[in-house]
């Protein structure tokens, strides 16, 4: 499936898609907080000034304003760094968006450790855990530019609140086109596999695929699942993996608490318990460095995933 080609960042694919869709959809509104450059919104802002609201560095106000606009039946996208949206504006997301039924699309860019060397203030390793506790909030992480395009199109058609987290850097393509890359709430099984399963989301999907290729040379058959929608979770694909393979590894650019791994474990323990390993950032302020350094440090690499897979299979 993957051609491994280095591509454009998901945030760019997101804004390119919005530019295309806004031409025929005057209901699309974009709100940002001095993050035009970070989100890559300059072209959009220049082309659609009437469908663009700049609030300055004020993320609480940003969500409140977005909720107010959404209450007029508009498709409002709030775009800003995930670290600020998921923390500074959390109460506004809870009350003005979720509780008040205003279907704002909260798009957190440069999530996880994208800003690596800028430090913990700029990282969001709690966002998935928090957002998925909000009733009716959908939580999604795209794996590449094509899936981002499909998710963006879907968001312009959906009513409820959504949290989408994207990374900063360009990620290699996982898919070859937007078509078929995203069905809301339905995970993609990218590689069949019968010994062990890896469930990943976002940038970790491509690493999981590469891990399966490494394992193939060791005669280990690993199933690879892209869990792009973390809420609502595709329970069926998880139960099948638990029944048909010996163990499950989850891989996420997030705290090991409350994210993809926890969501998968909640299904596994209640439906069909099998050994699991939750791979992510442990309970510490992450090691300093760029995102690739952080990934390597915590085994969030193809080699790291393959190593963990061997360890898991030895135990079973």
């Amino acid at each position: 499936m993957s051609n491994g080609k280095q591509s454009i960042p998901c945030r760019k694919a997101f804004t390119d898609t919005l530019i295309r869709l806004a031409a025929d959809n005057p209901d699309i509104m974009v709100v940002t907080s001095d993050a035009r450059g970070s989100v890559t919104l300059n072209d959009y802002a220049n082309r659609y000034p009437e469908q663009f609201v700049e609030v300055g560095i004020a993320e609480q106000n940003e969500i409140g304003i977005a909720a107010g606009i959404a209450s007029f039946g508009k498709k409002v996208f709030v775009c800003a760094p995930a670290c600020f949206l998921s923390t500074r504006s959390l109460e506004q997301i809870k009350v003005d968006v979720v509780y008040s039924n205003n279907g704002v699309k909260v798009v957190g860019i440069s999530g996880g450790v994208s800003y690596g060397a800028l430090g913990f203030s700029h990282q969001s390793l709690h966002d998935i855990a928090v957002m998925r506790t909000f009733p009716n909030m959908s939580v999604i992480i795209p794996a590449d530019r094509f899936q981002t395009e499909a998710i963006t199109e879907w968001m312009t058609r959906t009513e409820g609140p959504v949290y989408v987290r994207m990374g900063r850097a360009a990620v290699p393509d996982v898919y070859t086109s937007a078509d078929g890359s995203f069905t809301f709430g339905k995970a993609n099984v990218l590689s069949p596999g019968s010994d062990i399963t890896v469930i990943a989301s976002g940038e970790m999907v491509e690493k999981a695929l590469k891990a399966s290729q490494i394992l193939e040379t060791d005669n280990v058959s690993m199933r690879v699942i892209d869990m792009h929608t973390i809420k609502p979770l595709d329970r069926e694909v998880i139960v099948a993996a638990a029944k048909e393979t010996k163990a499950i590894i989850t891989v996420e650019e997030h705290s090991i608490f409350g994210g993809l791994g926890a969501a998968v474990a909640e299904v596994v323990v209640s439906e069909h318990p099998v050994p699991m390993k939750i791979l992510g950032i442990p309970d510490e302020i992450p090691i300093e460095g760029e995102s690739k350094d952080v990934f390597r440090h915590y085994n969030l690499t193809p080699e790291g995933i393959a190593k963990i897979a061997h360890q898991m299979l030895q135990k079973t």
């Binding site: 300055g56 409140g64 304003i65 909720a67 107010g68 959404a70 209450s71 007029f72 003005d96």
Partner: protein, 277 residues
């Protein structure tokens, strides 16, 4: 004059009804509800274009109760205007009731769930922006508390409203000088509140928040073009009930039977005096 008497009487009846509701439920934010009744009465019976038979009319004016804890007056007004059956007021704060202790969008006529302070003005700015773009003619009104002014997000919204030139937005501060822990000037000094809002680019007016005539005049006055309007309404917490006025403990105090009867008597006497005029 006749209109002013009508509104005064209406406000007095709303005071009675909300006290009955709080007394029956044994729960409520009594003091702030009473201080904001005159403001809400003028808004709903004289200013706002809202239609109970079509509560979601896209061209309706929007009202946001940012100080959500003073919901009792709002519920009683919405019921009186026909947004829902007044019988439902008897369910206030009870199991499965949609009439909870802060505004809920489950209640017809309520635009936003509030309760966490410092949110209402931001959402009002969003609504006023959307109105300018999509539903010209729609006006947005937001009532805030004075204690609420300590929330930083209020000032983010204040800056944005003047930046976006929202002359279709009016905010009203229920300036009763009391919050749950005591006088606002002791808890976190607001001091020159009017000057602060002027510095943020608003057209600021200080009025007697219990003067029906003054409230009608300022709320109906046309805005200064491109400028949001701020009304700092000087009010008395617990207004209308002698033993509650200016006493911080009535923020969420519930009257005893004796206190309740006395309150009813005081308002009835007030209404009788109005009838003589």
């Amino acid at each position: 004059m006749e209109k002013t008497i009508f509104l005064k009487k209406k406000a007095a009846q709303i005071r009675m009804n909300l006290l009955k509701m709080i007394y029956q439920a044994k729960s409520g934010h009594t003091g702030g509800a009473l201080s904001s009744v005159d403001i809400l009465t003028v808004l709903y019976y004289e200013v706002l274009h809202v239609t109970p038979e079509n509560p979601k009319d896209p061209d309706r004016d929007r009202f946001i109760m940012s100080k959500g804890h003073s919901v009792e007056g709002l519920y009683n007004i919405l019921a009186d205007k026909g947004f829902f059956d007044p019988q439902e007021l008897n369910t206030f704060s009870s199991y499965k009731s949609r009439l909870i202790g802060h505004p809920s969008v489950k209640v017809p006529g309520v635009e936003l769930n509030t309760g966490a302070l410092g949110h209402g003005l931001s959402c009002s700015v969003g609504m006023a922006l959307a109105a300018k773009k999509f539903n010209p003619g729609v006006k947005v009104y937001c009532v805030m508390g004075d204690g609420e002014q300590a929330e930083g997000s209020v000032w983010e919204a204040g800056m944005a409203a003047s930046n976006f030139k929202l002359d279709n937005l009016t905010a009203i501060i229920d300036r009763n000088y009391l919050q749950i822990s005591g006088n606002t000037e002791d808890v976190m000094r607001l001091d020159k509140l009017a000057e602060k809002w002027k510095a943020f680019g608003w057209d600021v007016h200080e009025v007697d928040g219990h003067s029906i005539a003054d409230l009608v005049a300022i709320l109906k006055a046309p805005p200064i073009p491109d400028t949001p309007k701020m009304i700092i309404a000087r009010t008395t917490k617990g207004k209308g009930i002698s033993y509650m006025e200016d006493v911080a403990k009535w923020h969420h105090g519930v009257p005893t039977e004796e206190q309740f009867n006395q309150a009813m008597k005081e308002i009835e006497t007030y209404i009788q005096e109005l009838d003589k005029k």
